[in-house]
């Protein structure tokens, strides 16, 4: 096969030119710069930078809390999608639109709003303080911010799958004597799982890299509540480009691994079911 097949369609040169030029300037060259900078720094240098308690603490905090937030969103997102598709109740449209708000609301706005709400003197924070529960300026605060930004992913990937489930399949399960719980576990869940896992991975990828909504509510205490993206910003403010590069590369690796995981999930589910 030729590199590009002959086609009567016009605009090959122009559309290819715009696509590749923009892709190169906006995405590939900057990411390439990060890789070149990292290569110049050397593996040993990168490792020495990452292998410090403060960096490890930030990376593991970011990853751990992102994992927890994505797990919560996996559960809550499936719940939301199920309720929105299957049940009719007043205000359903409003709830449906509200699921998208975390995509539309700027992260800085979300950050200060969640902080105002969950700080010890805030509406929910003061209630929590009465039972001795500190939310903002601690790991709980980070968790809530990460749940917020990742909220729509699972719900929006699972929703169309639930809509497409043939009701006769559930009825068939019931006529064969299966209880509702058995049907949900053995028939519904296997159908939702690929989409749910994709949403989980997307939500996780978003949470690991999240900055704007977290820094206001986190407290940002080194070794305790300092997330990895913040550490990059701090290194840059100190003009420590090598330090920032090392952490940035570590995060880029995590992103690529998650991207790969998403693609593998989709290939796997296509093989198993015949289509996604």
């Amino acid at each position: 096969m030729a590199l590009i097949q002959r086609s009567p369609m016009p605009g090959l040169g122009l559309s290819m030119g715009i696509t590749l030029t923009m892709l190169s300037i906006v995405v590939l060259a900057p990411i390439g710069a990060l890789l070149v900078q990292g290569a110049g720094f050397g593996l040993a240098g990168l490792w020495d930078t990452i292998n410090r308690p403060r960096v490890w603490a930030a990376l593991s905090l970011s990853f751990r809390l992102s994992l927890l937030a994505a797990a919560f969103n996996l559960f809550f997102g499936i719940l939301l999608a199920w309720v929105l598709v299957r049940y009719r109740f007043p205000g359903r449209r409003l709830i449906d639109a509200a699921v998208d708000l975390p995509f539309a609301l700027p992260t800085a706005v979300a950050g200060i709003a969640l902080t105002a709400l969950y700080a010890p003197n805030g509406a929910f924070g003061s209630l929590a303080r009465e039972i001795g529960w500190k939310i903002a300026y601690g790991q709980w605060g980070i968790f809530i911010a990460l749940v917020f930004v990742g909220l729509p992913f699972v719900a929006r990937t699972v929703q169309p799958v639930i809509e497409e489930i043939d009701r006769e399949v559930e009825e068939a399960s019931a006529t064969l004597g299966a209880s509702r719980a058995y049907t949900l576990r053995r028939v519904i869940w296997p159908m939702l799982m690929p989409a749910a896992l994709t949403g989980f991975a997307l939500s996780l990828a978003r949470a690991v890299g999240e900055y704007g909504s977290v820094i206001f509510i986190a407290g940002n205490i080194p070794l305790k509540t300092e997330i990895a993206p913040l550490l990059i910003v701090i290194q840059l403010e100190e003009f420590n480009y090598n330090g920032a590069t090392a952490i940035g590369l570590a995060m880029l690796t995590i992103s690529f691994a998650l991207l790969l995981a998403i693609n593998l999930i989709q290939i796997w589910s296509r093989r198993r079911i015949g289509h996604v």
């Binding site: 995405v27 709830i95 992260t107 706005v109 709003a113 480009y241 940035g248 880029l252």
Partner: protein, 287 residues
């Protein structure tokens, strides 16, 4: 088995009523805690000292400069992104070539990269201490800590929006209508404007809408490349951060209120598009 006093279930294949009510309650309750309450707090804090204080804080010259800058950045990034999305969708769906899957993955890449890392990448490429950046600064065209850097960062984080809306729609519509127009003697541009664009206009608008919302609200990537110079390179989200850190709560939340209203407007338009033109929008959406 002959017991007719058993209550009749509503439907054979749904959950019991109590469970349905509990699930609806959990969903609504969760969204109140996570979405509706933060939304209310933005406006409550903005108006804590009345309308006048809120409006006065937005009339401050630095605030006006921030609004102007955000609008400028959006006005540059949005058409560039739309043009790229259209070109990429045309190239990918109207031609067959090797490496198509790789190209799509690369276009999607920015969604998986942390905005802060994106900002870092731009600083490393165009910053004053890089070869390219040093040369640009010496010639009077600084990129980082200036408008071009902010535009570039915004383009990076919004890069896939339009393309990924258009690609599935254009794949579904196929090439036959454009081919028909070509056999009737239409030129390439005529085909684009009279056949392709009318078919994809709602999907294009949808992608542009998502892209605009994200462009106005981007924080992490812009925070890294802008240098946060008050009145010059501070966008609205950056200004919110600075005001908040100076404990100017009313001013911070007033500006946040403006962005929140824009977000709500976006959602409203998006919902209207989904209701009226669902058939022309991509069936599979995630981001």
């Amino acid at each position: 088995m002959s017991d007719t006093t058993l209550p009749r279930p509503l439907s054979a294949v749904t959950e019991p009523r109590a469970i349905r009510l509990a699930l609806i309650g959990l969903a609504v309750g969760g969204l109140i805690l996570l979405v509706f309450a933060p939304l209310a707090v933005v406006f409550a804090e903005a108006l804590a000292q009345g309308w006048l204080a809120a409006l006065a804080s937005l009339g401050n010259p630095d605030a006006l400069a921030a609004i102007r800058l955000t609008l400028t950045v959006t006005a540059i990034a949005m058409p560039l992104n739309a043009a790229f999305g259209l070109a990429a969708a045309w190239f990918i769906t109207r031609f067959d070539f090797r490496g198509k899957a790789l190209l799509i993955t690369l276009i999607d890449l920015p969604f998986s990269v942390s905005p802060v890392v994106a900002g870092l990448c731009i600083v490393l490429l165009f910053g004053a201490n890089s070869a390219l950046g040093g040369w640009l600064v010496a010639n009077g065209h600084p990129i980082v800590f200036a408008l071009p850097g902010i535009v570039l960062a915004t383009l990076f984080v919004t890069f896939p929006f339009v393309a990924r809306e258009l690609i599935p729609v254009m794949i579904e519509q196929g090439r036959s209508e454009e081919e028909a127009a070509l056999t009737l003697g239409a030129s390439g541009w005529r085909v684009l404007f009279t056949v392709t664009l009318p078919n994809i206009r709602w999907a294009l608008l949808y992608g542009v809408l998502l892209c605009t919302a994200r462009a106005m609200g981007e924080f992490g990537a812009v925070a890294v490349v802008s240098g946060k110079i008050r009145g010059q390179t501070a966008t609205m989200p950056i200004t919110i951060e600075m005001l908040y850190n100076e404990y100017l709560s009313v001013a911070a939340f007033s500006m946040a209120g403006v962005l929140t209203m824009l977000a709500l407007l976006t959602l409203l338009l998006k919902t209207a598009l989904e209701l009226r033109h669902a058939d022309q929008l991509a069936a599979t959406r995630r981001h």
